[in-house]
Amino acid sequence: MSQRPSKQANNLKEKTQNLETEEETSPLKALFKKVQTPKSQWTPTELSDAIHWMRQVIGIICGLIWGLIPITGFIGNFLFIGVNYTVVYLWYEKYQDIDEEEYGGRYDLFKEGLPSSIALFLISWIVSYNFRLEYLSF
């Protein structure tokens, strides 16, 4: 009888340790934390991953907003590229204080994740626009 509570305690301790290890090693979570921390130290791979995922998130959010307002016409594409470039530029230049020459230059950082971001933006723009046409107009 006295053994059962200590066995349960051991199991609980193991589970907690496993959870802590998982939290420590989850790369996306660590990256997300680093993105939010100003003036972090970045390796080139980490920075390109961070910029890639930021562009995807911006693509989805812009697409949803453009579709629901709605913004129509080709100007929406140029507006998205402008917003996408500006947000990421301000993040790494002002918030992270990164010298872009150390990481391959402005062009390398600009094209990181850009094609898939544009495609994702178009998809979410089209879907939210059609959602608005279907549910918000009738």
Binding site: H52, G73, P115, S116, I126, Y129, N130
Partner: protein, 189 residues
């Protein structure tokens, strides 16, 4: 009538997107089965990562060197490392060839099935007027002259471009830095 028309159209669009996401995962699953879990691929990937890191360090250290002879010898080292990286990337391409064929065949089959099912059907309304060279894809096999009507092909292509590379990156199977899924964006060397 228009309500039901848009209702089915919206569901068609969502269906195509879901199929595309599923196809992306299926493609990565096939690649993992045929390549990613093999020892030869893992050794090659480790070697490419190691060489890339050494190359970056060598390039960084050249900037801090003062004497011309040291810069010259470091430059030769960088060239050797670049050659080694290039040859490893070429070997990687050959290793991945098996999965390219299998994945290509799967995607063509799924695309063919979708294409036959959605042939002639408008699956979405575009919020913009497409440019003349894109309207051939967006308005493929559709009746009428309204260019904002969108066919399945365009949605599927957009989904493949966006979801496939993101799924690869999320699962950790993205091509190594220096190679790209979109080589047309690389500046000429």
């Amino acid at each position: 009538f228009f309500f039901f028309f848009f209702c089915f159209m919206f569901l068609d669009c969502i269906f195509i997107i879901l199929v595309s996401i599923g196809t992306g995962f299926l493609a990565e699953g096939i690649s993992w089965l045929l390549i990613y879990r093999t020892e030869s691929y893992q050794k090659l990937k480790a070697s490419i990562d190691k060489t890339s890191k050494k190359l970056e360090k060598s390039k960084d250290s050249i900037v801090s060197l003062s004497s011309a002879s040291k810069v010259k010898s470091k430059g030769k080292k960088v060239l050797r490392q670049e050659e080694s990286l290039k040859s490893s990337n070429t070997t990687m391409t050959w290793v991945k060839m098996k999965s390219f064929l299998a994945v290509g065949f799967t995607m063509i089959t799924i695309f063919g099935l979708l294409s036959s099912h959605f042939d002639g059907r408008v699956v979405a309304k575009l919020p913009f007027q497409p440019l003349w060279f894109i309207s051939g894809i967006t308005h493929r096999n559709l009746l009428g002259k309204d260019l904002t009507d969108c066919a399945m092909v365009f949605i599927y292509i957009l989904c493949s471009m966006s979801f496939r590379s993101n799924i690869q990156k999320f699962l950790g199977f993205a091509p190594p830095k220096g190679t790209s899924n979109f080589p047309f964006l690389e500046p000429p060397k």
